[in-house]
């Protein structure tokens, strides 16, 4: 007997519920008041019996009900391996799946795995065909499928575990295809792995051909002592200082006085000695580090000898973040109330990116005011002359522009080359208590933050007046008022982005500035028009990232951690992280200047060594495994037919029927007892 979903067996903890109910349920939370205990006190030792279970039959009924329910959810099945003798003779199609994830570096796993594969291949008959599938998160067939053992054996000496994690799905898929296409009378699938549970998310839809013999060779062990840097937290203090905290863990064993070091730009800046209790993460916080203008590369390392070294080190990069220069152009303040006050307050709130806000009068803008700005905001004002030309030039270079229409925004206030929409008449809806923003494009980056349920209630803002916007060709409407009029329109001008909003942020034409969505809405518009994106401090091995360094189209070289050197084009090529370490982007030529660096780390999920029951995997892919346990004693089991599998797994159905019957019985018995108890006075 086994279980397809053994995780559900944790539900047996629910047995504590009836135990608790029958031990304590009849006991009131508060004490039962009684006039005098002078008689009860004379009866000795009876209070001990309060811990006894009451209504034992009902308790047993409930416990049995929970037991059956949990067992049903865990999907029990019968283990019935088909004897070897039942397998027909004939040539075999053998597929060997060899796990080359980095956890296979642990101890002697890899050498044992290679030895097993070698022995398996050596034991094949000349008529047999073999395929070696190497897999980690991906699967590859290094030698043509269906080769002879002699063609594969020389390859084994050159193989090493890679830096990636484990996923059984791709490898099994490859095996499924090979075995399904094979006309050999006997099909064998041998899986050599440390069988980490994290590699089988139970989402894979793989069914191997019927009567395929499955030979699991589990090499892992549930207890594998290992020290690792589980994660690194980077907390910025201002733009150029960062506090680095590492979460360090020792699995399976205590590690007293373990040194943990922080290296920045190849120099050890701090070394701490910490006691690592088994399976309890320890947070190691290092002093704040000041970043250089070019950025910094950092490494946190758990020092000392370890059976698994890849997870001892965590790489990261840190970039200095200077405030984003923002220009606010608005009409001069003529009254006590500044119409742009709410906008300025919103922009002054610290966030990422940090903003450096300057305000100018829109009608007096000149080229120097615009130069170097990443974002320009024009609040209820017109643009003309040199200012308009400078803004257009800056936007074409990549800056963002946010236009807000209002009472001071005439029909020709926005230059034609920049405007996402023509400005129309004022829509006055004050008599109907204002309109609302009814249709919002929540898949757009500006509104992505508000996509979740219960977030971003734009309908709470009332718009009493707004300008009718007529989108120009090529512009996108991102939001509309409830009468269908565009509220927010987007357009791309050169390399820059322009957003136009139909109403000002003045709390007069609308009350949006006093609504909770205002601050995040403004922030998201700023992030979008600025084209800002946070640079992740590290990537995972296997991921890709664009190389954005200065102007696009430049040829640069990437020096990888293994001494690799690749030529890429900035803004066009994607960099793929094949190994853990730093990837330095340098300009061409000897001693080329480093313009950018990336960090890549192995997937830490791979350090989780909890094993997967091969039987469970076998059932999931189509049948029961044979009683294999290692390369020496591995008779071949046969994958059962669909009907046979269904029959073996059908136990849950009977269990659920039993649960239903028990539930009815429990209801009847429980009601009867409740009636008896209700007739007793309070306190009983």
């Amino acid at each position: 007997m086994g279980f397809l979903l053994p995780a559900f067996l944790a539900g047996f903890a629910a047995l504590a519920i009836p135990v608790w109910i029958h031990l304590r349920h009849r006991e009131k939370k508060g004490a039962t008041l009684f006039p005098s205990l002078m008689f009860l006190r004379r009866i000795p030792y009876r209070e001990v019996r309060r811990q006894q279970l009451h209504h034992l039959p009902l308790f047993l009924l409930r416990a049995l009900l929970i037991t059956l329910l949990v067992a049903a959810f865990a999907r029990p099945y019968l283990r019935r391996a088909v004897p070897v003798a039942t397998i027909d003779g004939g040539s075999r199609e053998v597929v060997v799946l060899l796990d080359r994830s980095w956890s296979m570096e642990y101890g002697t796993r890899w050498s044992r795995a290679v030895a097993d594969v070698r022995e398996t291949l050596a034991g094949l008959d000349p008529a047999d065909r073999a395929t070696l599938v190497l897999f980690d998160t991906e699967a590859s067939v290094p030698v043509r499928a269906g080769s002879s053992a002699a063609e594969i054996l020389p390859l084994l000496d050159t193989l090493r575990p890679g830096p990636r994690g484990t996923r059984f799905g791709p490898a099994l898929k490859v095996a499924q295809d090979i075995l399904a296409a094979s006309e050999m009378p006997r099909k064998v699938l041998r899986l050599v792995s440390d069988f980490q549970r994290s590699g089988w998310p139970e989402l894979e839809e793989i069914r191997l051909p019927a009567s395929t013999a499955f030979e699991p060779v589990p090499l892992g062990s549930p207890t594998a002592p290992d020290a690792l840097v589980a994660s690194v937290d980077l907390r910025r203090e201002g733009g150029s200082r960062v506090v680095i905290a590492a979460r360090v863990l020792s699995r399976g064993a205590d590690r007293p006085a373990t040194p943990v070091s922080l290296t920045v730009n190849d120099r050890v800046v701090e070394r701490r000695t910490v006691d690592l209790p088994a399976d309890q993460p320890v947070l190691v916080t290092f002093p704040a580090v000041t970043l250089t203008a070019a950025g910094s590369r950092g490494v946190v390392t758990v020092e000392g000898t370890d059976s698994l070294s890849r997870d001892d080190t965590h790489f990261f990069t840190l970039q200095r973040e200077d405030p984003l220069p923002v220009l606010l152009a608005a009409a001069p303040v003529t009254s006590a109330q500044d119409p742009a006050l709410f906008l300025m307050r919103a922009l002054a709130i610290p966030g990422r990116p940090a903003l450096q806000l300057d305000r100018r009068i829109a009608s007096r803008l000149g080229a120097p005011d615009v130069r170097g700005r990443e974002v320009i905001i024009v609040h209820d004002a017109g643009l003309s002359g040199a200012g308009a030309r400078a803004i257009e030039e800056r936007v074409r270079e990549g800056a963002g522009l946010l236009l807000l229409a209002g009472p001071g925004t005439g029909a020709d206030a926005w230059p034609e080359a920049l405007r996402p929409a023509r400005i129309g008449a004022v829509v006055d809806r004050s008599v109907e208590r204002g309109g609302t923003m009814a249709a919002v494009e929540r898949n757009h980056p500006v509104f992505e933050l508000f996509r979740g349920p219960e977030t971003g209630d734009f309908s709470s803002a009332r718009f009493f007046r707004y300008r009718r916007l007529d989108p120009v060709e090529g512009a996108n409407v991102l939001a509309r008022f409830d009468d269908g009029t565009p509220a927010l329109v987007e357009r791309t001008v050169g390399r820059g982005r322009v957003l136009a909003f139909a109403s000002p942020a003045d709390n007069t034409w609308n009350d949006l500035p006093v609504q909770p969505v205002f601050l995040p809405f403004v922030h998201e518009m700023m992030v979008y028009v600025a084209g800002y994106s946070e640079t992740p401090p590290w990537h995972r091995v296997g991921e890709v990232a664009p190389v954005v360094a200065g102007d696009s189209g430049r040829a640069v070289f990437v020096n990888g951690p293994g001494g690799t050197r690749d030529r890429v084009t900035t803004g066009a090529d994607l960099l793929r992280f094949e190994d853990a370490g730093f990837y330095r982007v340098v300009e061409p030529g000897v001693g080329g200047r480093e313009v950018l660096s990336f960090a890549a780390n192995v997937d830490m999920a791979e350090s989780e060594m909890t094993p997967l029951d091969p039987e469970e995997l076998a059932i999931a892919i189509g049948g029961a495994a044979g009683p294999s346990g290692g390369p020496e004693d591995a008779p071949i089991g046969t994958l059962a037919s669909g009907a046979e599998q269904e029959r073996r797994q059908r136990i849950w159905w009977y269990l659920l029927v039993g649960v239903a019957l028990l539930a009815v019985t429990e209801t009847v018995v429980g009601n009867r007892l409740s009636g008896i108890i209700r007739r007793a006075p309070a306190g009983s």
Binding site: R24, H25, E27, A31, F34, P35, L40, E47, P681
Partner: protein, 305 residues
């Protein structure tokens, strides 16, 4: 204890404690109880009392012709009716236990409420007899004293209306203290749940009897105290001391009921030996049981006199 024969099917509806609990006004409650009780009894309220002549007045149509003084008629040839004034014979003091255990009630009426109803009814009844009535409340010691007087009905009812449970203590010692205050022979009506050692209670009652007074003891018992119907495991808290004991009551019921029965038997035996009328009143019982007990005792005293 013996008393007048009682037809339980008549007029006892208003004597049910559960019904009485709905009457907010204690005087109205007492009046309801006594009038209902007497109505069911079909007897004169002036039972066992001698009447004292006050004066003659001319006969008016409608007067009871039995009250015409025939001797005066013979002498004067005029109809005169005799006016009488009831004698005030007895001094009655109600001794009410207000210890916290009396606040217990498993049903609609707590023991203290029941005791209040009982004393209010008896007081109102006694006031109609023109007895002097007083009240002493006690827990471990004496809490409030209203000396006996024919005009103290309202005061007693008011005191009963506002009383709250007192502190814990032994009623036996409190009864001894009360005995020291009794100055003249009277009827002492003790209403208590008698949670004390029988020896201590007996000592207190003996001292009360030593004053020459007649003593009636009403032992108020809640049905839950009597039957102990609790089932599930629970922590029981002593209302007197606050002590808590975890128990499985179902296992203790037999032993507990035996002890309670033995306690009551001991009290019955000892109090009987002291000439004390001892009656057990369940708070689920109509009040007429107590009224009969009281009445019979009152009659017996009137006969002695």
């Amino acid at each position: 204890m013996t008393g007048p024969r009682h037809d339980p099917t008549r007029a006892t509806r208003f004597l049910d404690p559960g019904v009485l609990a709905a009457i907010g006004n204690l005087e109205l409650l007492a009046r309801t109880v006594v009038e209902g009780f007497l109505h069911g009894l079909h007897r004169s309220p002036h039972l066992g009392l001698s009447m004292e002549f006050a004066e003659h007045r001319p006969y008016n149509p409608g007067d009871d012709i039995r009250r015409i003084d025939w001797r005066v008629l013979a002498r004067t040839d005029r109809f005169y009716v005799k006016e009488f004034e009831a004698e005030t014979h007895a001094s009655i003091t109600f001794l009410l236990d207000i210890s916290p255990s009396m606040s217990f009630g498993s049903g609609q009426v707590s023991k203290l409420d029941y005791a209040r109803f009982l004393i209010a009814s008896l007081a109102w009844f006694s006031a109609r007899q023109r007895d002097r009535i007083g009240l002493i409340t006690f827990d471990g010691s004496i809490r409030e004293t209203i000396p006996p007087s024919t005009r103290h009905l309202t005061r007693i009812l008011h005191a009963l209306d506002r009383l709250t449970p007192g502190a814990g203590g032994e009623p036996g010692s409190a009864l001894g203290s009360i005995a020291d205050r009794v100055r003249r022979r009277s009827i002492l009506v003790i209403v208590s749940d008698f949670y004390d050692q029988p020896e201590s209670l007996l000592e207190g009652v003996t001292r009360l009897r030593a004053t020459g007074s007649d003593v009636l003891a009403f032992h108020v018992v809640d049905p839950a105290e009597r039957d102990f119907p609790y089932e599930g495991a629970a922590t029981f808290e002593d209302l007197e001391s606050g002590e808590r004991i975890p128990l499985v009551p179902g296992d203790l019921r037999g032993d507990y009921q035996s002890m309670i029965a033995e306690h009551q038997a001991t009290l019955t035996r000892h109090m009987g030996s002291q000439g004390v009328d001892y009656a057990i009143l369940g708070t689920d019982q109509p009040l007429d049981h107590a009224l009969f007990a009281y009445l019979s005792r009152r009659q017996a005293m009137a006969r002695i006199r």
